[in-house]
């Protein structure tokens, strides 16, 4: 009965054998105005499907009241979201997953951004979104928590950043 599973929605993966998916399927950051600020997809989906999903979810989440529960069922996925100032962070996990730990993943990511940018605000993420992506990639890799130690994540980012600086210096010289 109603076997409309999320995995089969995507036309791009219909030709593949049934796959296992990482715990997190995608992460979206969007503003209170509904503008997408960051999107990371850990499952193969077509552009069209991605757009549809983000549009749907942004609409649904923005319509929810602040005191409401941070979790919601959407298709066969569990959406976990949290608002930080003017920015919404939203993750999709499988229904069986632990919603609270996903909420803490969001929180840890915000902590990392905060530490990196120094009391982060929406503008930091707008103007340096590629940095926000780099941090995310060091924290979550392929949909799974890669490194949960805050110190280690930041160290990895800074090392990469530093290297850039060296090269810049070299070129400048």
């Amino acid at each position: 009965m109603h076997s409309f599973t999320f995995h089969c929605v995507s036309p791009s993966c219909s030709d593949q054998s049934p796959l296992s998916f990482p715990q997190m399927q995608f992460m979206l950051l969007f503003s209170r105005q509904g503008k997408l600020r960051l999107q990371k997809w850990y499952v193969p989906l077509s552009d069209k499907e991605r757009k549809k999903i983000s549009r749907d979810l942004v609409q649904t989440i923005l319509a929810r009241k602040p005191k409401m529960c941070s979790f919601l069922e959407w298709r066969d996925l569990k959406i976990v979201y949290k608002r930080y100032a003017s920015l919404y962070f939203c993750c999709a996990v499988e229904d069986q997953d632990n919603e609270l730990i996903t909420l803490e993943i969001i929180h840890r990511y915000v902590e990392l951004l905060d530490k990196y940018f120094g009391s982060v605000c929406e503008l930091d993420i707008i103007f340096n979104f590629e940095k926000a992506y780099f941090i995310l990639d060091e924290f979550l890799l392929g949909g799974e928590a890669q490194e949960t130690s805050k110190k280690n994540v930041l160290k990895a980012i800074e090392q990469a950043d530093l290297l850039q600086e060296v090269i810049h210096v070299c070129i400048a010289v």
Binding site: M1, H2, S3, F4, D15, L19, P22, K35, L36, R37, Q39, K40, W41, Y42, K51, M68, C69, F71, E73, R75, D76, N98, E99, L100, I101, L103, E104, I105, Y116, G118, L123, I125, F127, N128, F129, E130, Y133, F134, D137, L141, G142, A145, Q146, E147, T148, S149, K150, K151, N152, Q159, A160, D161, L162, L163, Q164, E165, V166, I167, H168, V169
Partner: protein, 1128 residues
């Protein structure tokens, strides 16, 4: 990156003020990206934004294509392209450049290139292949940052087919000195495992090394792989349980570096991952579970702090405790923990509490009872998400007693919900609950009167299931639960068919219900055997179900007891079943092979030709047994022998006949009886009620084309719907009475009371009587009592309903009979009325009946496509001259004058009316020519204008030149068709349509199905003139063989000659030779197919033996011989 470089560069950032510095977000607003972003924020309309972005994109496109663009500029361009894509505008032209950037750029540009690739492309994108070489190169790089980047992109996406190319390099990295490289390598392998598990099978032992890595980060990463592998094959990793337990102990004990703490909780992600793994390992495995009790207990104890992360761990812990082999002490703690969740004011925790309850409630229904009021509150929560989760919980605790309330709540939610997916899901669940429940009602009410199709298709549905196995399991489980509770009640009231369904379902699926001992089910079933009203058919269903369930010593003794009690039964089937039960209960192995579990949906191979009996048959034949006769032949014989007096049943037989279809007749005797009855139909309907044949519930369900399923649902729903209004007032009344009966000293506030009432109706039937219940016993008992009373009320209402429906069905049958047996012209008017007329006509009839069933029937009846039985009945009657008083006789002579000149001299059958409309009358006859049989159709136009008529008949070819012809006013036109039949058959039906134009409207009518029976053969059969020698050769050559005894005519001196003469004259057979008491006869069909008949006088009858190369010809000829002799 080496430590040296790291140290030297630590001081650098402060000296630099380039855009990549941490915290420099605002500075970069001077860049081109910054300009773009600011430009967009200043815009007011979507349209302007679109224009701006398109401009931006074309500028980017131009620049990336330019050979003068440096890699550094390219990096900047990529960032802008990513931004445009994020806003929803396509920049696919930049994909290839992103790959180029990753390939050719220096480290910092490469980083953006890789990022762009990972954002732009998905796993199956073909451009990804171009990245493989770059990744290969970077994996071999001495620059750690480059290696990290390559591993990062590989862990996110990589073409499946190219994995072998880089696998050795990634594997190598597992032993890399830097932990960040090892960690990323593990995650890359995890990714490979997800997309192509076979490719990484050989490196499983390296995963173990990663699990033992000294760096906690690498170890954590390796758990992702283990979780996945254990999910697929828990048995293969049991030996690791102790290691996982040890790791968890260390983590919980705070042995990891402080870096891994999160809000002073040690490595929560690691803990959760380990708890998940442990629950998979400990599931259904007591000894493995025992190893983890201690550490689970420890985890529960340590997670005390009031922070989300501890709740996350607690939730996972509780889930594990309920998944693994249970331990009472732990369960108690876990239950308390769930209580904390449920009672928490924080909405997220409440949600998780509900989710946990949903998870555990099937094992421990009492837990739901404890939290009844919270659940009720959540049911009315303003947040739909909470409401939805509560419904999910209720769905799990649905039983036969609370299903109505729960479904009501679900439907209530459905009215609020606007989300399609939820709607689909919930509707499915409602349907599932209702399905069983409704079918229960249907079975109880419909009882034994219902068509066997309904229980059959219900069982088929249940066994074939739907798409999801989990849903199927739920449905079956629910059915089992509901039936067990029915059997525990008063099964004596249930109809036989329902009992059969119950037995089958219990036999097949009661093993799904954990904790339901087979012996318990067996005892319930055995009770059915002892009931007075149980029919022997039901008993054998019950016994079969018991054979499926028989397991364990309890059952063996029960089977023994049963076989003693029922072994002496007079019913052989029952005796056999009891024997089977006894044997199967003693031999588990045999049972498993004879009645495999869950094999109901597997197709059985049935040898429909029963070829395995061939030996037996030939043996019996050689021993002198009579050869097999097809049923219609046997019936013929019976009728012919007139051994049975049909008088007492004379009235009832035609009723059952006409309720099916008169054309279905098998025996001429029956037919003539029914046509003989056509005169006194009112008398008939009156007597019909008093005949011994029970007509209760006999509906017109079988038509010529089989089961007329369409009208069934209508009647069913009518039966089902009626009880519900009956029972709701009774429940209302019951509720009121409790209210007045329990005058509590401290009056509860009204809403509170409502909630309590809701709770009692929701949680009824959950857990044991003695369980903790907020309602208290005094209230629960009347509640149960009330339920029961309600059940009785509804069933009495139901029986009322049944008798009602009997009444209406009865009258329907009568009406049908009247219609069937009406004067033939009226009938054909009814049948051929134009589509516009039909509904109106049936409406009229229905109005006189006053039942909608009748209307349904009539529409079917008159619908030309569906069931032409009426007309056919009509013309069959016509084809049987002696029984038919022909009202059209004068017409015959007048029409025959219209026969074409060349046919006028030939013999033709009487002209029978086929159909007629206002202005057109169609009649037909057949004419025998030497080489063919012609069907001549007369179209008579009685109007005063010309009508153009197009006639189309199936199966025949038109001899007349043009099938379209204008029929002149008040004249007749004639069509000729030549009739050919491919195979001989007792009945041939011709059907067709006539379309005609009149008053600018094209109308069409059904030309009756023209049923030719014996006449057909008479016309098609020709004598076959052969000599005795030729006859002998032919005889041996033919394979189709039939033997039969025919009546011998006794009026002449030589009965054989007399009989053969009759056949010769009537059927145009050729008598080849008569020698003594034997004669040989030959004939052929028009097409030349021969049939030989050998006759011998034997014991006062004529033993005939027919042979032919055509399969059905002997049977067919035999049939006509019988008729010919009988009519003589």
């Amino acid at each position: 990156m080496s430590d040296v470089v790291e140290k030297t560069l630590t001081a650098l950032p402060s000296l630099l003020s380039l855009d990549s510095q941490p915290g420099s977000g605002k500075l970069s607003s001077t860049s081109k990206l910054g300009n773009l972003i600011r430009g967009i924020t200043e815009l007011t309309s979507k349209h302007e934004e679109e224009k701006l972005i398109q401009r931006e994109l074309s500028s980017i496109k131009e620049q990336v294509a330019s050979p003068n663009t440096s890699m550094r500029q390219m990096k900047e361009l990529m960032v802008r392209a990513i931004y445009c894509e994020m806003l929803g505008y396509e920049a696919s032209f930049s994909y290839i450049h992103a790959i180029k950037l990753a390939q050719q750029g220096t480290v910092l540009e490469k980083r953006v290139g890789y990022l762009a690739v990972s954002l732009f492309l998905n796993e199956s994108h073909e451009l990804l292949l171009l990245l493989v070489n770059t990744v290969l190169k970077d994996l071999q790089s001495t620059n750690l940052i480059e290696v990290c980047m390559a591993l990062t992109v590989v862990s996110q996406m990589f073409p499946k087919d190219m994995i072998p190319a880089i696998l050795p390099l990634v594997e190598e990295k597992l032993t890399h000195p830097k932990e960040i490289i090892r960690r990323k390598a593990v995650l890359a392998l995890y990714k490979f495992y997800l997309i192509a598990p076979n490719q990484v099978q050989h490196i499983h032992n390296k995963f173990r090394k990663a699990l033992c890595d000294k760096d906690p980060g690498v170890m954590t990463a390796s758990l992702h792989i283990y979780l996945q592998m254990i999910k697929e094959n828990p048995e293969g990793y049991k030996d690791l349980t102790a290691s996982f337990v040890t790791i968890l102990k260390q983590v919980v004990g705070g042995k990891l570096p402080m870096d891994f703490n999160y809000h002073s909780v040690p490595a929560p992600w690691l803990q959760i991952q380990l708890l998940r793994i442990l629950s998979l390992l400990g599931k259904d495995d007591q000894s493995t579970s025992e190893m983890m009790y201690e550490v689970l207990d420890e985890s529960l104890r340590r997670a005390e702090m009031n922070h989300n992360i501890t709740y996350a761990i607690l939730y996972e812990c509780v889930k594990s405790i309920y998944t693994i082999h249970p331990k009472a002490e732990l369960l108690e703690k876990a239950a308390k923990c769930i209580g904390n969740f449920v009672l928490s004011p924080k909405i997220n925790l409440k949600y998780l509490g509900l989710k946990a309850l949903t998870y555990v409630v099937q094992q421990d229904a009492n837990l739901a009872l404890q939290h009844q009021l919270t659940i009720i509150e959540c049911l009315d929560h303003s947040d739909l998400v909470i409401k939805r989760e509560t419904l999910e919980l209720l769905f799990r605790i649905t039983n036969a007693q609370n299903v109505t309330v729960i479904v009501e709540k679900m439907l209530e939610f459905l009215r609020l919900s606007k989300d399609d997916y939820t709607t689909i899901d919930l509707v499915g669940k409602v349907a599932e609950l209702w399905f069983i429940e409704t079918m229960n009602t249907v079975f109880s009410l419909g009882g034994d009167m219902m068509q066997p199709d309904i229980p059959n298709s219900f069982l088929r549905l249940l066994s074939e299931g739907f798409d999801s196995t989990e849903e199927d399991r739920q449905l079956r489980l629910f059915a089992v639960d509901s039936y067990v509770s029915l059997l525990q009640g008063e099964p004596g009231r249930l109809p036989q068919r329902f009992l059969q369904v119950i037995s089958w379902v219990l036999g097949e699926y009661s093993h799904l219900r954990e904790g339901l001992e087979p012996a318990t089910t067996l005892r319930l079933l055995a009770k059915l055997l002892d009931m007075k009203h149980t029919s022997s058919e039901t008993k054998s269903w019950v016994l079969l179900a018991m054979s499926k369930l028989c397991e364990g010593p309890d059952c063996v003794s029960l089977a023994q007891e049963l076989s003693e009690r029922h072994g002496g039964s007079l019913d052989t089937v029952l005796r056999q079943r009891v024997q089977e039960l006894r044997h199967l209960s003693e031999d588990a192995e045999l049972r498993a092979s004879v009645l495999p579990r869950d094999a109901a949906q597997e197709p059985l191979e049935v040898d429909s030709s029963l070829s395995f009996l061939d030996g037996f048959v030939s043996e019996a034949l050689s021993a002198g047994a009579a050869p097999y006769k097809p049923p219609h032949q046997r019936q013929e014989e019976l009728a012919q022998a007139k051994a049975l007096s049909l008088e007492p049943y004379g009235l009832s037989l035609p009723i059952s006949m006409s309720s099916c279809s008169l054309a279905d007749r098998q025996s001429p005797t029956l037919l003539s009886m029914s046509s003989g009855l056509s005169g006194n139909s009112t008398d008939l309907s009156h007597k019909g009620g008093s005949t011994t044949l029970k007509l209760d519930g006999v509906k017109r369900v079988w038509g010529k084309d089989g089961y007329l399923a369409q009208k069934e649902p209508v009647e069913e729903s009518a039966q089902v719907e009626v009880p519900s209004p009956l029972c709701s007032p009774s429940r209302q009344g019951g509720a009121d009475s409790t209210h007045s009966q329990t005058p509590t000293p401290t009056p509860t506030p009204e809403p509170e009371k409502e909630k309590q009432q809701l709770a009692s109706s929701l949680f009824v039937g959950l857990g044991s009587q003695s369980s903790v219940c907020l309602m208290g016993k005094s209230e629960q008992t009347p509640q149960r009592f009330r339920r029961k009373a309600k059940g009785q009320g509804s069933s009495s209402g139901a029986s009322e309903q049944i008798s009602n429906s009997h009444y209406s069905t009865q009258s329907t049958v009568d009406n049908l009979l009247c219609n069937n047996l009406l004067d033939s012209t009226v009938t054909s008017d009814l049948a051929v009325s134009t589509p516009e007329q039909t509904p109106q006509l049936s409406q009229e009839v229905a109005t006189t009946n006053g039942t909608c069933d009748a209307e349904q029937d009539l529409i079917e009846e008159t619908d030309p496509g569906n069931s032409p039985s009426l007309i056919r009945a009509n013309s069959t009657v016509t084809a049987d001259p002696p029984a038919h008083k022909d009202p059209d006789r004068p017409k015959d002579s007048c029409l025959s004058s219209h026969l074409p000149a060349e046919l006028a001299g030939l013999s033709h059958s009487e002209i029978i009316p086929l159909c007629s409309s206002q202005n057109l009358d169609l009649s037909a006859c057949h004419v025998q020519k030497e080489d063919a049989l012609l069907l001549v159709i007369f179209i008579e136009n009685s109007s005063d204008s010309d009508i153009e008529c197009l006639l189309f008949l199936s199966q025949v070819s038109c001899v007349t030149d043009s099938p379209v012809e204008a029929v002149r006013s008040l004249s007749v036109s004639v069509y000729q068709y030549s009739l050919m039949v491919k195979r001989p058959a007792a009945h041939v039906a011709l059907a067709g349509t006539a379309s005609y134009h009149m008053a600018l409207l094209t109308q069409s009518m059904l030309v009756s199905c023209f049923c030719l029976t014996s006449l057909l053969f008479l016309c098609l059969g020709r004598p076959l003139c052969v000599s005795t020698e030729e006859y002998g050769t032919l005889w041996l050559a033919f394979s189709q063989d039939t033997k039969q005894n025919l009546a011998l005519l006794n009026d002449g001196q030589d009965p054989l000659t007399a009989t053969l003469d009759v056949l010769k004259n009537k059927l145009q057979l050729h008598v080849v030779d008569i020698i003594g008491a034997e004669g040989i006869v030959a004939c052929r069909l028009l097409q030349g197919q021969p049939c030989l008949m050998h006759c011998r006088v034997h014991a006062g009858s004529l033993a005939v033996w027919l042979r032919s190369p055509v399969p059905d010809l002997p049977d067919c000829l035999l049939y006509h011989c019988q008729r010919a002799l009988q009519e003589h």
